[in-house]
Amino acid sequence: MQPVGEPGASALSAVGLCKRFGERVAFEDVTFEVGRGEVFGFLGPNGAGKTTTVRTLATLIKPSAGSATVAGLPLRAENEVEIRRRIAVMPESPGLYLRLSVEENLTCFAHLYELPKPKPRIEAALQAVRLLERRADPCGSLSKGLRQRVCLARALLSDPEILFLDEPTSGLDPVAARDVHELIDGLRRQGVTIFLTTHRLDEAERLCDRVAILNTTLRSIGRPDELRDQLFARTLTVHTLAPLPEPGRVFEGLACVESWRAEDSTSYVLGVSDVTVAAPAAVRALVAAGADVLSVGESRHSLQDVYLELVDEDVEGRRR
């Protein structure tokens, strides 16, 4: 694991972390490290244990086994209050006091964090989420998207070392979700460490430096492109105008081409170890063979492909 940010300075780490509720395992044997300033995505299907992991790291739930360090402090009962002072959590449900105004909500939380000069902090947080002009509005009168923004402002108040975002765009329309993405992008540029749980793989791919895929146990962890490379062979897809008479003679033995197969009469998929070497070699071989080449392109697997591959493996495993 190579966390982004200062070398060796991890903001958050877990070793063999586990939580059971009686017989039911919420998550187990979870080990990871998040570097300072890193945006770390935590992906998984419903019931995978994502929210329980966040609650455990945020000291709301006691782990059944394993250890963790949060914002430089071991996750132990005597450190709970100090850990909560150093982090902020934006839960899936905003949990705002609907009868209180935006500013009253933030003032209450500023005092709960004992912030020395709450007013400027509140203004800065509202400015960051572009809600300064709605400060006097009761939270009950705001749309879901605006409530999420208030919730984010509340999380930013204490200038946290680690920000836990639990499904921050859940249930939001695309425009509101885009707004939240932009805000997270802004925080990332400011160097805030973010632990993001999400179902939205496009969101994770766009925002996260690394992702972990959890399905009760940690299934995989790494940069999205690393995960793709781990799970899927890199491939080139070649389209020709007419079928090749002897495709084996064209593709076999080419530099960095490990395998090939015909997808249909004029399309061929090459398994390659290095696209930058294999693609020019394939084009040269095709031209030398007199083929009319329509296109040669790398087939990209998305994070969604990685996710589905891992989660489907679990589903298949359970069926067996």
Partner: protein, 237 residues
């Protein structure tokens, strides 16, 4: 990090602002006192002075600090849980003792205000409109002092009992019903004294006062011990 009065004040202030803007709480605070001022007033204005000589009629009004804060306190934790506002608060550095004390102060303040206001109103009505004999029979210095002292003690018991229930139940309505039930014994004792069924000797008054004071002190610690973050966050709503 040590105990923080700033966080207690933040929680109490938030609660009081919410009360002011919640119609059901305002109506509870307005209606319940009526229930407790009417019976003694009717009796005082319809009975002879000799009939009023036994008992301490206005002690019946201790029902106000027994019931009003119990209803509010019983909602305090489970209500936040049902609204989904508890989890964000619990992710802040607030300790459970601070959170509960803030909520208790917020329940106590309006209950005391309402109890004293209504009691003052009752005293004024008797002084102005009751016959001289009835006023002399009802307005006793010792009873007035007892009312002033017992009002916060009774309210304290009602609050901690209500809040203890609130930390362990899943439904706000159930919590409020149970909170009211738990306050009933205190109210029943007050009613028995008010109507002369029990003679309020100095020993009894001191004993009851001492017991309530101890319960109020222990109540905060017991309720704090019952407040289990994990259970409140993870148990089904």
């Amino acid at each position: 990090m040590s105990f923080s009065w700033t966080r207690v004040r933040a929680m109490a202030g938030k609660e009081l602002t919410e009360y002011r803007r919640t119609g059901s709480i305002i109506s509870t605070m307005a209606v319940v006192p009526l229930v407790f001022i009417l019976p003694p007033m009717i009796e005082i204005f319809t009975s002879s002075a000799s009939a009023l000589a036994s008992g301490d009629r206005l002690i019946y009004m201790l029902g106000i600090p027994a019931i009003v804060p119990a209803v509010i306190a019983a909602y305090a934790v489970v209500g936040e849980r049902q609204q989904g506002t508890l989890e964000p608060v619990l992710t802040t550095p607030i300790r459970r003792e601070e959170l509960l004390l803030g909520k208790a102060i917020a329940a106590l303040a309006p209950s005391l205000l309402m109890s004293y206001l209504v009691y003052g109103l009752a005293l004024a009505l008797v002084e102005i409109f009751a016959s001289a004999g009835a006023a002399t029979a009802v307005l006793k210095g010792g009873e007035i002092i007892a009312q002033v002292i017992f009002t916060p003690l009774v309210a304290g018991w009602a609050i901690w009992a209500g809040m203890a229930i609130s930390t362990r139940t899943r439904d706000a309505r159930v919590a409020q019903q149970l909170g009211t039930l738990v306050s009933l014994p205190v109210f029943i004792v007050a009613a028995l004294i008010a109507f002369g069924a029990i003679h309020a000797s100095l020993g009894l008054v001191l004993g009851l006062g001492g017991a309530l004071a101890v319960l109020d002190f222990v109540g905060w610690r017991v309720t704090s011990a019952l407040f289990d973050r994990e259970r409140l966050i993870t148990a089904g709503k």
